[in-house]
Subunit: 339 residues, 2 copies
C-alpha cells in the first residue's frame, strides 16, 4: 500500500522530470498529480526512494532527479509501451513505401525513426550470415584482377576486388562462376565456408591459383564483413538535448562515429526481437553514460536479421520512444519480407 504510493511517486517524478528537465520538488508533485496526500508525506517517500538509490538531489535543497536505477525501475515496472497514433502510423507507411532498394529502405527507415523520436536513430543492415546467397558474379577488371559480387536474398550486395597473382584465362571466370553458383545458391551464408573451402581442388595450375584467390576473398567477405554496416540519422538532435549532458556532445558524437561502438550498442541482444533498453551506465561505452539506448530486432519472414534503435538522453520519454522503435521495426520487417 505504502509501497505502491512510493512507486507512484517515482513514476510521477520521472514523468515530470522528463517533461520539464528540472529537478522536481514535493510541492509541485502534489499539484500536478492526484496523489491524495500532502507534500510532507511525499517528502518522506522521497527520502525513502533516495535511500533505495532510485532518485537523487543535485544539491541540498534542490528537487529530486531520477537515477539510472530509478529509470530502470520505471521502465521495468511502471510504464507501458505507448502505441503510436493513427496519424503516426500512416506517416510511417507512406514514408517507407516507394523505397527502391535495400539502401533506400535502410535510409528511409532510419531517418523516419530519428524524426518521430527526435533522437539519434541507427539501423543495422540485415546480417549477412543469416541470409542466403542469391547470386554470385565474377567480373574481369584487368588481366589479373577481378571483381567478386555477392548478392544476398535481403537485397544486400557486397563487392570485393580480387587480386590474383597470375593472368586469368578467358573462359575460367564462367566456369568458376558456374561451379560457385551450383554449390552455394540458396545456401545460408553461415554455411558457405564449409561448402566452398575445397572448391579450388577441382582446378589445376593457374586456374587453381585464381580459384583459390576467389574462394579466399569470398570467405573474407562472408566472415569478416560480418554485420559490419550501420546507418545513422538525426545526429543534429544531439545538439538539442546537448544541454542535458553538460554540453559534452563531443564524446557522444565520437562514439557514434565508430562502427564498432554502434554495433556494441545495437548488438548485445542480437537475434532476439525483444525490446531492449539500456540506461546510462548500463551501456558500457565510454562517454555515453548520460545516454540511453532503445533497440529491437527486426525480422525478415520470421527470423530476426538485425537490430535498429535510437540513442537519446537518459532523460527521455521511454514509453513513447519504445513504441516508435517497435513500430518502425515492424514496418521495416514487413517491407523487407514483401520485397
Amino acid at each position: 500500500m505504502v509501497e505502491d504510493r512510493r512507486l507512484s511517486v517515482l513514476r510521477a517524478i520521472v514523468e515530470d522530470y522528463v517533461a520539464t528537465h528540472e529537478p522536481v520538488g514535493s510541492r509541485s508533485l502534489v499539484e500536478r498529480h492526484a496523489l491524495g496526500v500532502s507534500p510532507a508525506t511525499i517528502r518522506n517517500d522521497m527520502a525513502a526512494l533516495e535511500d533505495e538509490g532510485l532518485i537523487a538531489q543535485p544539491h541540498t535543497s534542490a528537487g529530486r532527479v531520477p537515477t539510472d536505477q530509478g529509470y530502470r525501475v520505471f521502465v521495468d515496472r511502471l510504464s507501458q509501451v505507448k502505441p503510436l497514433s493513427g496519424a503516426e502510423r500512416r506517416a510511417i507507411g507512406s514514408f517507407l513505401d516507394g523505397a527502391v532498394d535495400l539502401d533506400d529502405v535502410m535510409q528511409r527507415s532510419v531517418r523516419l525513426l530519428s524524426q518521430i523520436t527526435r533522437q539519434v536513430a541507427m539501423i543495422q543492415y540485415p546480417s549477412l550470415t543469416r541470409s542466403t546467397v542469391r547470386h554470385i558474379e565474377l567480373v574481369g577488371l584487368t588481366p589479373s584482377r577481378l571483381l567478386l559480387v555477392l548478392i544476398a536474398d535481403t537485397g544486400r550486395v557486397e563487392q570485393r576486388v580480387v587480386d590474383t597473382a597470375v593472368a586469368i584465362p578467358d573462359d575460367l571466370l564462367g566456369r568458376l562462376r558456374a561451379r560457385l553458383l551450383e554449390r552455394v545458391t540458396g545456401l545460408r551464408l553461415i554455411d558457405v565456408p564449409g561448402t566452398v573451402s575445397d572448391l579450388a581442388d577441382g582446378f589445376a595450375g593457374n586456374d587453381r591459383v585464381v580459384a583459390e584467390s576467389v574462394v579466399a576473398t569470398l570467405l573474407e567477405t562472408v566472415v569478416e564483413r560480418h554485420e559490419e554496416r550501420v546507418m545513422l540519422a538525426g545526429t543534429a538532435n544531439l545538439a538539442t538535448f546537448g544541454e542535458d549532458f553538460h554540453g559534452a556532445v563531443r564524446p557522444v558524437l565520437e562514439a557514434l562515429e565508430e562502427q564498432i561502438v554502434l554495433l556494441r550498442l545495437l548488438g548485445e541482444s542480437r537475434s532476439s526481437d525483444v525490446l531492449t533498453v539500456r540506461i546510462g551506465h548500463e551501456n558500457q561505452v565510454e562517454g555515453m553514460s548520460a545516454t540511453s539506448v532503445v533497440t529491437v530486432g527486426y525480422s525478415l519472414g520470421d527470423e530476426v536479421v538485425a537490430q535498429l534503435g535510437v540513442v537519446g538522453p537518459t532523460r527521455m520519454d521511454y514509453p513513447g520512444t519504445m513504441g516508435s522503435v517497435r513500430a518502425v521495426a515492424r514496418y521495416v520487417g514487413r517491407i523487407l519480407t514483401e520485397q
Copy 2:
C-alpha cells in the same frame, strides 16, 4: 608602402585571431609581430581596414576580428598553401594503402582528412556520368522481378530492383545481358542513354516488356542517381569549435545531413581541380554562414571525377587546411588510378 603594411596588419590579425580565438588589439599585435611601428600607428591602420570592411569590432573598446571579406583577402592575397610535413605525408600513405574496395578508399580518405584537419571532412563518390561501364549483370529474383547491377570502372557498383509486370522467360536474362554488354561496355555513362534507348526494339511480346523495364531502370540509375553519394566524417569536431558559432551547432549538423546541401557545398566548382575556398556567407546555405568550405577535385587518370573537402569555422587555419585537402585529393587520385 603604407598599403603594404596595412595588409601585413590584416594578415597578422587573421593569424592571431585564428590562433587565440580572441579579438586582437593593437598592443598585442606589435608584441607578437615584428611590424616595426607603434601601437598607435597600428590603430590608424586598423581604422582604415575597418572602413574597408575587412575587420570589425564585436563592441566598442574590444579588439578587432576579421570579417568574411577580410578572410577572403587573406586567402586570395596574403597566404600560401602550406605543404604537409614529411610525417604527415607518410601517415597519409600508410593510412590509405590497403583499402580493399571503393567504399573502403572513400571511407579511409574522409576519415583521414577529418583527422588531420580536425574538421568535418566530406568526399563525393566518383561521378557515374564521368566513368565508363565495366559490366552489367541481371539476376533473377522472383518470376517477375530482377536485380540490375551496374559496375563502373571507378569500382563503383549500383544496384536496382526491376519490377516487370510480366513473368520473365528463363533464357531472356542471358540474351538481354549479352545485348546490353555488347552495346555499352566501355561506354561513358553519360553516353549510355543515347545508346540503349532503342534496345528494347529488338525484342517482341513479353520479352519486350521486360527489356523496356530494364532499360528504363538503367537510364534511371545513370541519370537520376547521378552524383548522389557523399560520405562524411569528423562531425564530432563540430562540437569542439561549437563555441565559435555561439553554440549553434544544430543548423550545421542539420545541413550536413542533407545530401543535397553537401552536394551544393562540394559541387559548384565541379570538374575543376582548382582549390576552392568558400567563406561564411559566400556559401549560400542556411545555417552555415559561420562556416567555411575548402574543396578540390580529385582525378582518375587525368580527368576530375569528383570533389572532396572540409567544412570548418570561418576562423580556421586556411593555409594548413588547404594544404591537407589538396594533399589528400592527390593521394586519392593516385590510388584510384592505380587500382
